[in-house]
C-alpha cells in the first residue's frame, strides 16, 4: 500500500513538474525577405520577448516582420 502511494505520488509529481511552463523558452526566429526565409538564430527568455514585442527586423533594404513560431 505504502509503496503504491509513494511510487504514484512521485511519478505524478515528476510528470507535473517536468511539464510545467518553462520561463526561459527558446525559439528559432526568422524573417521573410524577397521570398526567402532568413534565419535569425535562437532567441531565449527576455531576448525573445523583446524581439517579439518589437515585431520587426530592420536592415538597409527595409523593415521585415519577424516570426518565432513553429508551424
Amino acid at each position: 500500500m505504502k509503496k503504491v502511494i509513494l511510487f504514484s505520488a512521485l511519478a505524478l509529481s515528476f510528470l507535473v513538474t517536468t511539464s510545467s511552463c518553462s520561463k526561459n523558452k527558446c525559439h528559432d526566429c526568422h524573417y521573410d525577405k524577397a521570398g526567402a526565409e532568413i534565419e535569425m538564430g535562437e532567441y531565449c527568455g527576455d531576448d525573445l520577448k523583446q524581439l517579439e514585442a518589437l515585431g520587426t527586423y530592420t536592415d538597409s533594404t527595409g523593415i521585415y516582420t519577424v516570426h518565432c513560431e513553429e508551424h
Partner: protein, 756 residues
C-alpha cells in the same frame, strides 16, 4: 504548522461525545446477510461497507435527522429517513441500537439519489427527470475527456475542437446556455466562447447529474439548456484508507493519463487528495495522417476535507486544473485549404496557436441540522485564466482572468413527513480583467453582480410527489472602459421564474411532468462585440439593445419497470423567447463575412429521448441497452439556429463474466452508435452525412496481493471517417479521430485502519 494546529483544534472542538449507529443489511427474500453493501449518511457524507455478516457501523456525531442511502449490487437501493428517536417509513429505527435493513433483489436498479434539485431526493420521488451517472459507468468505453463521457447520456452531445476542448450540448443548447456546477458551486470559465474549454477533469469526480432544460429556479440566470452537476467521489468508508491509481494509454494520440486518488476517513474527519496528468500528441485521422496541432496536456490537483460535529457538517474543497490545448484549424486566411491542417508526422511539442486555461475552484460548504430544519451555507471562489497565444510565442493574443465569488444560503424546513420547503438566496460577483500584455480584447474589463431569492415547496401524498417554486433574479452588468468604439455600459436585468411538477411512482411505472422557466441576460460579448472572431472566421457586431432570453419548458416522462426490463420515454417542448443569434449582413471586412447579433421572437426546441434496458432472465449476466435522442427546432425563419444535434441511436451490449479465480474476465462491452444526417441548417452551415461507430472493451481482473483491473478497448473499430455536425473542425473538413486502441490499468486498494 500554525494552520494545521488550528485546524486540529477546530476539528476537536467541533466534535463531542460520540454515538454508535450500527446494524445489518439483509436480503429481503432469503434473510441472508448482504456483504459489501454501501451505507451512506447523506447529511455528513460518511460511508460504511457491510462485512460478510452484513454488519456495518458508524461511530461519531450525527445530526438529529439523517438519511441513510443503502445500496448493493443486484439489490434495490433504499433511502431511510429517521431521527434519533423517531419512526421512519413505518418502522422503528433507533440510534444506539442495531438497525436491520432489508433489500429486495433487483437486477435493474435505477433509483439513485439526486442532489442537483437542491435537496437529496430519490429519483423516483423527483418530478424532474434527472440523469444520474457514475463516471465509472460513463467510462465503460474509456474516453479522452469529460465532454466525450457526457455525450453517452440521452439528449447530451458534445461540441469539440479536437480532443483538448470539448463542451457539453444539452437538448441543442450549449456554451453560455448550459450551467455547470461542482458540488453545488457554479463553474464560470468564459463558456460563451465556442472554443473555450470546460475546465474540469475526471479525477476525484464520482458522478454527474444532468438537468435538461431551464433550471433557473435552482441555479439562477443562464441555465436555459440545462445544468451539469458534478459531485465528488465519496470519501473512503469509515476507519479506512484507499488509494486508486489509474494509467491509460491511447494509441491514436500516442498519449495517456496517469491518475491517483488517496482517501482516508475516520470517525472525526475525512479527506481525499488526488491528481492527474494527461499528455496527448496530435490525433490520428482515419486516413492515417495527423490533425495538426491537436495536441494537449492537462495537470490536475484535487483536495477535499470534511468534518462534522453535533448537528453540523463542513466540507472544504479545492481543485485546480491547468490545460494546454493546441488549436487545430486555427487560421487567419480567408481561403481555407483542408489539407494544410493535416500532417504526415505526429507531433507533441507545444506550438502556437495554443490555448491555456487555468481553473481554481475553492469552496466551503456548511450544513447545520436541527430537528425539522436544515440550514446550509456555501461560499465559493473561482478563478479562470484563459490565455491564447496566436502569432507570437511570448505575447498572448488574448488573456482574461475571470474572478467569481459566490454564495448560496438555504433553509430547509419540514412541516411534516409530507410537506417540506426550501427557501434560499444565491448570488455571485464576477470581475473580468484583461491581461495587460494581450494584443487583443474580446471583452472589456467588466463587473457583474447576480442575486436571487427563491422558495421551493415539496409535498408527498401516497404515490404522488409534488414540487413547485418561485424565484426572482437580478443581474447587474457594468463595463469599466470604452470598448471598440462603444461607451462603457451599466445596465441591469431582472426576471421572475417558476417551476411546478408532479410524479406518480409505483414499483411498475413512473409518470412525471413538469413545467419550468428560465432566463438569460445578454452577455457583454453579445452587447459589445465589434471586431474579428478569428476562431469563427467572422466579424461580429453586438447590440446594446438586446433583451434577456426567456425559456419555458414542458417535460414529460413515462417509465415502465419490470424485473428484467425498463422502458422510458421523455418528450419535451422548450420555447425560448427573444432568442439571441448571429445573423449575416451583406458585408465583408478584410475578407471575413460580417455577422450581427439579433433576436428572434420565438424559437421552439422539441424532441424526445427514448431508452430501453433489457436484462434477460435466461442470460443473467447480459445487459442490453438502447437509446434514441431526437431534437428539432422551429423558428419563424428557417435558418437562424445553428449546430442542431442530429438524431442519435446508441446501443450497448454488456456481458458480465466471472471466469477464473486468480485472473478473472469481468466485463465485455460492445457499443454501437448511429448518428443521423443533419439537413436542418443555419446560415453558412453545411449538411452533415450520417455515420456509425463501433467501440468495444474487455475488462480483466487480477486477484493477487495487490488487485489489478486491466481494461483493453478499441474505439472506432471500423476506422470510420466522419465529421460530427457539432465539431468545430467541420469548417476545415477535418475528420474526427480514427481507430484508437487503449489499455487502462487500475490499482484500487482499500485498507482498514485501526479503530480509534
Amino acid at each position: 504548522m500554525k494552520f494545521i494546529a488550528l485546524l486540529v483544534a477546530f476539528v476537536a472542538l467541533s466534535t463531542n461525545a460520540q454515538k454508535e449507529l450500527s446494524g445489518f443489511v439483509k436480503s429481503k427474500s432469503s434473510n441472508l446477510p448482504i456483504a459489501n453493501a454501501r451505507i451512506h449518511i447523506e447529511e455528513t457524507g460518511e460511508t460504511s461497507i457491510s462485512d460478510e455478516t452484513g454488519a456495518f457501523m458508524f461511530l461519531g456525531n450525527f445530526p438529529e435527522s439523517i438519511h441513510l442511502h443503502v445500496s448493493a449490487i443486484e439489490f434495490e437501493s433504499k433511502v431511510l429517513a429517521f431521527t434519533q428517536s423517531a419512526q421512519a417509513q413505518g418502522r422503528q429505527y433507533l440510534v444506539g441500537s442495531k438497525i436491520e435493513i432489508y433489500l429486495a433483489e433487483r437486477h435493474l436498479d435505477l433509483e439513485e439519489i439526486t442532489v442537483s434539485t437542491g435537496i437529496n431526493v430519490q429519483k423516483n420521488k423527483s418530478p424532474f427527470l434527472i440523469e444520474t451517472r457514475k463516471l465509472s459507468d460513463l467510462n465503460g468505453i474509456t474516453t479522452l475527456n469529460m465532454g466525450e463521457a457526457l455525450a453517452k447520456i440521452p439528449g447530451v452531445y458534445q461540441s469539440s475542437l479536437g480532443n483538448g476542448i470539448s463542451k457539453p450540448v444539452i437538448r441543442g443548447l450549449q456554451g453560455i446556455r448550459v450551467v455547470s456546477l461542482l458540488n453545488g458551486m457554479r463553474m464560470e470559465g468564459q463558456q460563451w466562447g465556442g472554443d473555450h474549454g470546460m475546465g474540469i477533469s475526471e479525477v476525484g469526480i464520482g458522478s454527474v447529474e444532468v438537468i435538461k432544460g431551464p433550471a433557473s429556479l435552482l441555479y439562477g440566470a443562464d441555465a436555459l439548456g440545462g445544468v451539469l452537476y458534478y459531485s465528488d467521489d465519496a470519501y473512503a468508508a469509515v476507519n479506512s484508507q484507499s488509494v486508486k491509481v489509474q494509467s491509460i494509454y491511447h494509441s491514436n494520440t500516442s498519449g495517456g493519463t496517469l491518475r491517483m486518488l488517496y482517501k482516508q476517513s475516520n470517525q472525526k474527519f475525512r479527506f481525499l487528495i488526488g491528481g492527474s496528468y494527461a499528455n496527448h500528441a496530435d490525433f490520428q485521422l482515419p486516413n492515417q495522417k495527423f490533425a495538426q496541432n491537436s495536441r494537449f496536456n492537462e495537470s490536475v490537483l484535487k483536495t477535499a476535507l470534511s468534518w462534522n460535529g453535533k448537528n453540523k457538517v463542513h466540507h472544504l474543497r479545492y481543485s485546480f486544473n491547468k490545460v494546454m490545448s493546441g488549436l487545430p484549424g486555427h487560421t487567419h486566411d480567408s481561403i481555407l485549404n483542408p489539407l494544410e491542417f493535416q500532417s504526415e508526422l505526429q507531433r507533441r511539442k507545444q506550438t502556437i496557436p495554443a490555448q491555456f486555461f487555468d481553473n481554481h475552484y475553492l469552496s466551503f460548504e456548511n450544513k447545520w441540522f436541527l430537528e425539522k430544519n436544515e440550514v446550509s451555507l456555501l461560499l465559493g471562489q473561482t478563478m479562470n485564466q484563459l490565455t491564447e497565444y496566436d502569432e507570437k510565442v511570448t505575447i498572448p493574443g488574448i488573456q482574461m482572468r475571470l474572478w467569481n465569488s459566490l454564495y448560496t444560503v438555504k433553509w430547509t424546513h419540514s412541516f411534516s413527513e409530507n410537506l417540506k420547503v426550501v427557501n434560499g438566496m444565491q448570488g455571485m460577483f464576477q470581475n473580468n480583467v484583461n491581461g495587460p500584455d494581450a494584443t487583443e480584447r474580446l471583452l472589456p474589463n467588466s463587473l457583474s453582480f447576480d442575486n436571487g431569492l427563491f422558495s421551493m415547496w415539496m409535498y408527498s401524498m401516497d404515490r404522488w410527489n409534488f414540487q413547485a417554486g418561485l424565484r426572482y433574479d437580478l443581474r447587474y452588468i457594468k463595463t469599466l472602459e470604452e470598448f471598440k468604439g462603444k461607451q462603457a455600459i451599466s445596465t441591469s436585468y431582472g426576471s421572475p421564474n417558476a417551476s411546478i411538477g408532479a410524479i406518480y411512482s409505483t414499483d411498475k411505472c413512473t409518470f412525471r411532468t413538469n413545467v419550468s422557466t428560465g432566463y438569460r441576460a445578454p452577455h457583454p460579448s453579445e452587447l459589445l462585440a465589434n471586431g474579428f472572431h478569428h476562431g469563427a472566421f467572422r466579424y461580429e457586431i453586438g447590440d446594446e439593445q438586446l433583451r434577456p432570453e426567456r425559456a419555458s419548458q414542458l417535460d414529460v416522462s413515462f417509465e415502465v419497470k419490470r424485473d428484467h426490463l425498463v422502458l422510458i420515454v421523455n418528450p419535451f417542448l422548450n420555447n425560448i423567447q427573444q432568442f439571441i443569434y448571429l445573423q449575416p449582413i451583406d458585408s465583408m471586412v478584410d475578407n471575413l463575412p460580417v455577422f450581427a447579433y439579433k433576436q428572434l421572437n420565438k424559437v421552439l426546441f422539441y424532441g424526445s429521448d427514448f431508452g430501453v434496458h433489457y436484462h434477460p432472465h435466461f442470460a443473467h449476466d447480459l445487459h442490453l441497452e438502447a437509446m434514441y435522442s431526437y431534437l428539432n427546432v422551429l423558428t419563424s425563419t428557417d435558418s437562424s439556429v445553428s449546430m442542431i444535434p442530429p438524431g442519435r441511436f446508441m446501443m450497448s451490449f454488456r456481458y458480465q463474466l466471472d471466469l477464473g479465480k486468480k485472473l478473472q474476465i469481468k466485463d465485455l462491452l460492445v457499443q454501437y452508435t448511429y448518428m443521423n444526417k443533419q439537413n436542418k441548417l443555419a446560415f453558412n452551415e453545411t449538411a452533415s452525412p450520417a455515420y456509425q461507430l463501433l467501440d468495444a472493451s474487455l475488462q480483466l481482473k487480477w486477484n493477487g496481493k495487490t488487485p489489478v483491473d486491466v481494461q483493453f478497448g478499441c474505439r472506432n473499430i471500423l476506422n470510420a471517417s466522419y465529421i460530427d455536425h457539432l465539431s468545430r473542425l467541420k469548417n476545415i473538413s477535418l475528420a474526427s479521430p480514427g481507430r484508437n486502441i487503449y489499455i487502462s490499468i487500475n490499482f484500487n486498494i482499500s485498507h482498514q485502519l485501526k479503530k480509534q
